[in-house]
Amino acid sequence: MSEHEAIVAPILQAGPSFRRWAAALGAIVVWAVFAWVWQLTHGLGVTGLGRPIYWGLYITNFVFFIGVSHAGTLISAILRIVHAEWRRPITRMAEVITVLVLFFGVGNVLFDLGRPDRALNVIKHPHFRSPLLWDVASISVYLTASSIYLYLPLIPDIAILRERTTGWRRRLYTRLAVGWTGAPRQWARLERAISVMAILVIPVAVSVHTVVSWVFGMTIQPMWHSTIFGPYFVVGAIFSGIAAIITAMVIIRRVYGLEAYLRPIHFNNLGILLLVMCCLWFYFTFAEYLTTWYGQEPTELAVFTSKMTGPFAPYFWAMVVACFIVPFTILANPRTRTVTGTLVASISVNIGMWLERFTIVVPSLSHPRAPIHTFVYIPSWVEWSLMAGCFAAFALLYMGFTKLFPIVSIWEQEGTDAVPAAAA
Amino acid sequence: MARALLLTAVAAISAAIWVVLLPPAAVDQPIPFDHAKHTEVTCVACHRGAERSARAGIPEVAACLNCHATPPRPVEVVLSAGPALPGSDGQKPTWDELARRARPAWVRVTRLPDHVMFSHRRHVTSAKLDCASCHGDMRARRDALTSAPVRLDMNACLSCHKTEGATEDCVACHR
């Protein structure tokens, strides 16, 4: 086992830097909890929302987080199915993103509810024609499936840790390892289960983001009622997912010194993937906006114009720059497709994709069909706090995960050329 | 760790039982009104709103004057105990005066949530429903109600509405 000491070591010890970060992030989370309690007592009036802009930051975040969730499961499943061997060191960190981020997606919907105490009404009195119910169904299936998909490959690694720890950790790992001994039969079953899950998870993942897009697409509101929203959102989701993995990879690589496992080839390959998605995303965006513009339908055009030249133009054009121009310029050139290059592109894509969600949710609502008074939506401190809290909590949980489980799959490193000589 | 969880669970379950399952606390009523003694008059003789409006209403003492020329025994007991009836300001008013002015602080024990719009008139006058079917049999009660005699829940409403062919439209009651 010693050859993977670089992976195991960070699990078993936490340095002062870790504690400092944990404390800082924890403080943000506590602040967000306070903001949420504030919102629960005073009602959604503490947000910047109003009639007709009923959805804002929370729903933007919801769509964004659900999009990022495609980082893991989908990508690792696809790569696993096509036997892309270079994927091995990155699957775990991607899958963790998926599982964690889904909670924040759901959490943002809860923030957005006027009566979160009645959230269970969705299950007690379901209305099957509502895309929101489809959302609830597909997200819970996805959450279950991706949790299993995260857990299955963890079992052998947990067994490794079980052998190396004592005390509560040992008891925890013993329970989680479910009696893994590494017998050939167990290996065969595990491999089979993983490949079944890998196939199963792909349609579920596609469905999740399709359904999220349908929350908008099924209404008849201008620039929401679009047939390509399903695939458009899926592409955007994979796009932002890959960007999220790359960002996470760079950070983990730097922090835990995993340069030997996460090598430039990974960044290069993922960079190419990101480039492909970048082009796809641009194609879909172009198609979507071109048809709207060509149609010149007045209500659609009002939203369109507000994005092109109106009050939402800064967001829209920033999105185009961040989602297409920056990543394309960096990634299309093999010389800039380095670790730093892909990181810059990824961060840019993540910001851009968040802006994309924002420019889908808010401008349509700001230009209702009915000639009613509208206003400029400026998110309040509560909304920003909760958003910050989500990101902080995500980082905190991710950090916590790295302290409990190997963030790079140990057993999958064996039998590949990925096992570095340097680690020995 | 496991123990702590278990203890927390025990605490949570007992709290939940206490909140949900226990019947509501008994309340003090200003006059120990004996329902059983008044079986000769109909419910609506005192709860007059039941036939005419949405709310049945709790009788004022003035209603007693229809039958009682002198203060009934329990009222006298209450009176001698002190100025429990507002409006009696220290001095002892005549029964007649008192009955006209006093508004006993009856506590409502049978209450529906605010979002349930129940109309007594519709059920009593139009549907000819017996009061006992929702309020239980009052003829045996020797006191004013100190707690809700019957637990009202929507399923009871719905099952009756189903068998009677009454409306099952949500907004008929919720609006």
Binding site: - | V10, A11, A15, A16, W18, V19, A25, R52, R55, G57
Partner: protein, 737 residues
Amino acid sequence: MPEPVTRREFLSYSGAALTGVTLGQLGRQWLASTTPAVVHASGSEVWATSVCRECPASCGLRARMIGGVPVKLEGSPLCPIGRGRLCAKGQASLESYFDPDRLIGPARRVGERGAGRWEPIPWPKALDLVTAQIRESVSAGRPGLVALAVDEDGPPADAWSDAWRAIGARTFRTPIDTATRLRPRFEALTGVNGDPMFDLERASHVLSFGAPIVETWLSPVWAQRAFGRFRRGPSRQRGRLVQIDARRSATARKADEWLSVLPEHQALLAYGIASVLLREDRVQRGLLDEFGGNLREFQRDVIPHYTPDQVAAATGIPVVTILRLGRDLADSPRPVVVVAADANNSLIDAVFTLNALIGAFDRPGGVFVAPASIDRRGVEDEPLEALGDLKPRVVALADPSPFRTLSASPDLGRLLEGARFVVSLSPYLDETAAFADLLLPTHTPLESWHCAVPAPAVAAETRSIAMPAVKPRLDTADRLSLVASIARRIGAPEQATDEPISTERIARGEIDRLWRLRRGGPYSVVYETEWLEQLERGGWWAPAAESREDFTNRILQAGGWIDPYFQAGQIEQSLRERRGLRFALPVAIPAVPPAKIEIKPVDGAGRDGFGKGATLRLVTFTPAVVSLAGNPNQPVIYELLGQPDAAPWQPWAELHPETAARLGIESGHRIRITSRVATIEAMAVLVEGMLSDVVAVASVPSVPGAGRWARVIEGDARSLVALADPAGPCLVVVARA
């Protein structure tokens, strides 16, 4: 085999259970405390009759009472004015009854004037205080005491003045913005001493000179109803409306044609149309030939001096339009020309002249004389304008609302500041609270007796009479009883009657008088009212009740008395007696230079972020929902301000889009309007078709010392004109804030 439970385990689990139960109990208590308290005493629905006092129309209303508490106001279906309908203001008066900032009882000022510090005092002491002050002022000689009443009409209003005058006070009242204001000019032309009445409902073509028909005209609910029927009456042609108005008012929006003409130019346009009618001989000859009066001189004066060319040059309305307006008017079967009640005299003259020329007098869809109010003494009070620079020692105010209207010239603040002692008899915390020394809160309309003469509108004689719909909610008094008891304390001989005067007594007295008249009957449904009219037309009258008491009860239940008998032809009769019309000869067209829009730096540019602005003519107007600037304690009214264009809760200013473009102003921007005396801010609204040199500013009363809602309004348009030169047009500088 189960393991034995250790003592330690047992204790821990019991402890946990106990903690749970405690928490549960706390939770139960919390739940119980959050259960809303029963707001309504159980009770069944009762409808109480009352009278709306938000404006002089005095519509009958009914209040839906649940357990003795009013929860909603509706128009009374029996009332002939509204016929079950009620305007926004009328309904909102429920909110002023419940106003959380209402005065809870009599109070005396303890701090500095305007500091808003009060001390409650009992009624007798309060009356002593005011009596002492009045005694002192009476001994000091006139003008010692001034009393100001609201603009209402009826026996209680007369009794108010009588009581004050009995103790040597001068009484003032605003002339009511009803048809009564048109009376003097109407009389000058026709010789009829009566209120003119416009038969809007049956007209086929209405030419309106600034009449706010669908806003606050004469009797608003009646006007709205008449407008609806004028537009789409059963089995009749759609009526056509042409509105001459400086701004695009609600009526202008509803018009088929709107011409933007400043108020001071509207008379010119009217005479221009008259000259077209005369020159092309499109006048209705019938009446003119018989009662021509000084028509010939008028003709000689108007035709050469008011040629379409000259009028066009002065007003900016094209010649073809003036010609068309005249021809349209003459070609329609039942045209009528209407005017705002607060119009200037020359415009009123011109409007009645036009009506004479088109033969609208005594014709369906034309102008009639309202049934004379029997035994109406008329307003003996002096008009508010007569206050001038009077510096009375004691001032008693019934209601400060007359000072909220735009036309009132005296400055309330100055009047009150100068007085030694100010008594307010209003139920609310309002403008007077800043200056009053003594607050004697009176009943709100729902708590009061009523006996009002509604503003003339329907073709019938009416009284709106009602008793209180509710018991007084707070420690308030009847306004008339208060005055009467003050008068008695002073020792006025006329007031030393056995029975104290109160609104109730006056109202009951009026019902007795109506009973003795032996005509008319209680307010009733349309069918019964028409039956009564047919009877009276045939010379019959069936008593509505067996006895006087029965009659009283029926009147009070119905909310009023009506005599629907209506005799047309009064104008002709008067003309016959007087031998002809007396046209007012118009003065020559004054040279009215068009205002130059020059964009220039405002005085003191640079200070306070002032940029460049443009000099524009100011037109102020009262939005329809705050009609008569009534009661500032109705939040719903502020919410409805300026719909559908402007935003709620704030005043707005209307500009021509081109003018706005030159100033870099867009719809929704905040703009700053500076006159010689004041600066206010308002929201800009761009209006196509407006005069480009005019800015129209909504006047929303901002009442700093008043209730919680009135004090949040910013930018009172009245401040711009209050002290400005009243003669010329008020010029203001407009710039982006």
